[in-house]
């Protein structure tokens, strides 16, 4: 039987014996990570943390530490499905303390699109705002509501007044997602550039962690 992946797997003594691995992941990466693991047949259990932690990045390292510590006794191996993600080194400290690996780069945009390509986008146009499939799908909640644009549309100017474009790192674009991305960019009043990335960036990064 193939060791399928699952989100929030049970923590039993069986997990150690069977060599299962726990991925403490940002909620924005959980689904894709589980799908990739399933396809690759990795014995990976994904334990997601709320994606909205990104707006309070000072909390990320503590949350990851707590979850990882609670999982370590039950798993042979725990890995971290976060990049630096605005923790400015605090997450690296947690990883060093507990001996865990994490995704490379500054944020998940680096993982999906490659750090040097992202760097180029920002150099070309510093006012670049990046979408991932997750952000496109959850735009109303993670962007509009979190930034208060639903309650105070006039804040658009305060947030995005200096922005010139949206770059969508399209992992698995289909017609529905494409329409959502266009609508979201339009609500921000910005032109949309679609950059198909696939999910290989995440897949390779996870393979390095799991392998």
């Amino acid at each position: 039987m193939a060791p399928g992946s699952r989100v929030s797997g049970a923590r039993t003594s069986r997990t150690i014996e069977s060599g299962r691995i726990a991925l403490v992941a940002c909620g924005a990466l959980a689904q894709s990570s589980a799908e990739i693991a399933e396809r690759r047949g990795w014995p990976l259990d994904v334990h997601p943390l709320p994606p909205l932690l990104h707006n309070q990045p000072q909390k990320i390292a503590g949350e990851v530490r707590a979850l990882a510590e609670s999982l370590l006794p039950a798993y042979g191996k725990v890995v971290v499905g976060y990049a630096d993600c605005g923790t400015y080194g605090a997450l690296d400290q947690v990883c060093a303390d507990l001996g865990l690996g994490r995704l490379p780069g500054l944020h998940c945009y680096d993982v999906f699109g490659g750090a040097s390509r992202l760097q180029t986008f920002f150099e070309e146009q510093p006012g670049t705002y990046v979408f991932t499939d997750f952000l496109v799908r959850s735009f109303a909640r993670t962007v509009e509501r979190e930034l208060g644009l639903d309650r105070w549309p006039e804040l658009r100017e305060d947030y995005f007044g200096s922005y010139t474009r949206v770059v969508w790192l399209a992992q698995e674009p289909d017609d529905e997602l494409r329409a959502l991305a266009e609508a979201a960019a339009e609500r921000l009043g910005l032109p949309l550039t679609v950059v198909p990335t696939g999910t290989t960036g995440l897949e390779h990064a996870l393979a390095d962690l799991v392998g």
Binding site: P126, L147, D158
Partner: protein, 221 residues
């Protein structure tokens, strides 16, 4: 309305970011012959300080801060010329900008509002300000303090680039340098050789004032 009610109203309505009401109350206060300084120091600034405190505690998030800031800015539009007229001396000139490559500016804008409220003349260079531009603006405006704001791991090194540009132009010692922004720490500020750092808007005001005092005590007029 009594002056007390005006002040209480200004405080409460700024706290919830009710810009139209804050503007009305400001005008009503002036009709009642209240001093612009009173409206500012006894209502608007304390309210925005409370907003900052709530943000620190996690009770407020960015949008709540922004709408409160907007409400206070609206009142400042009315009060600014009056404060200038009453001959209140500005306590110093503060040149501010977000570094090159970075367009985060919410924190910077809030700092500006508080600095202005505290009596600084603020010149805002906006976002993505290149080192050459900082240098040119310092030469043009001769500020007491220059502030660099940065938010991204990739743009924090611009602090150092700015410092180098100031050195090269021979103006490093003629201006106090302050740095800030979400990822910035006192250690980082020290490492790039800045004179001061502050974690939020009201601390920026305090730190700016004390740095100015130190500098003025050193340099005999």
């Amino acid at each position: 309305m009594t002056p007390e009610e005006i002040l209480q109203g200004l405080y409460d309505e700024t706290l919830v970011g009710n810009a139209p009401r804050v503007l009305e109350l400001t005008n009503e206060g002036l009709v009642l012959n209240m001093e612009p300084q009173t409206l500012l120091f006894d209502a608007l600034i304390p309210s925005l300080e409370e907003v900052g405190a709530r943000f620190e505690r996690g009770d407020f998030f960015v949008p709540e801060m922004l709408i409160a800031g907007r409400a206070m800015s609206g009142a400042m539009e009315v009060l600014r010329p009056l404060l200038a007229e009453t001959g209140v001396q500005t306590i110093g000139k503060f040149l501010m900008g977000t570094v090159k490559g970075d367009v985060h500016d919410i924190g910077k804008n809030l700092v500006n509002i508080m600095l202005e409220g505290a009596g600084f003349e603020v010149i805002d260079l906006g976002v993505q300000v290149a080192p050459e531009k900082f240098v040119a603006a310092i030469e043009e405006h001769q500020p007491d303090i220059v502030g660099f704001s940065a938010f991204l791991t990739t743009t924090m090194p611009m602090f150092k680039a700015n410092m180098n540009a100031l050195e090269k132009a021979g103006i490093r010692n003629s201006v106090i340098v302050m740095v800030g922004g979400a990822p910035v720490t006192q250690e980082y500020a020290d490492a790039v050789g800045a004179d001061g750092y502050a974690a939020d808007a009201s601390q920026t005001v305090k730190r700016a004032k004390s740095l100015l005092q130190e500098r003025r005590a050193k340099v005999p007029a």
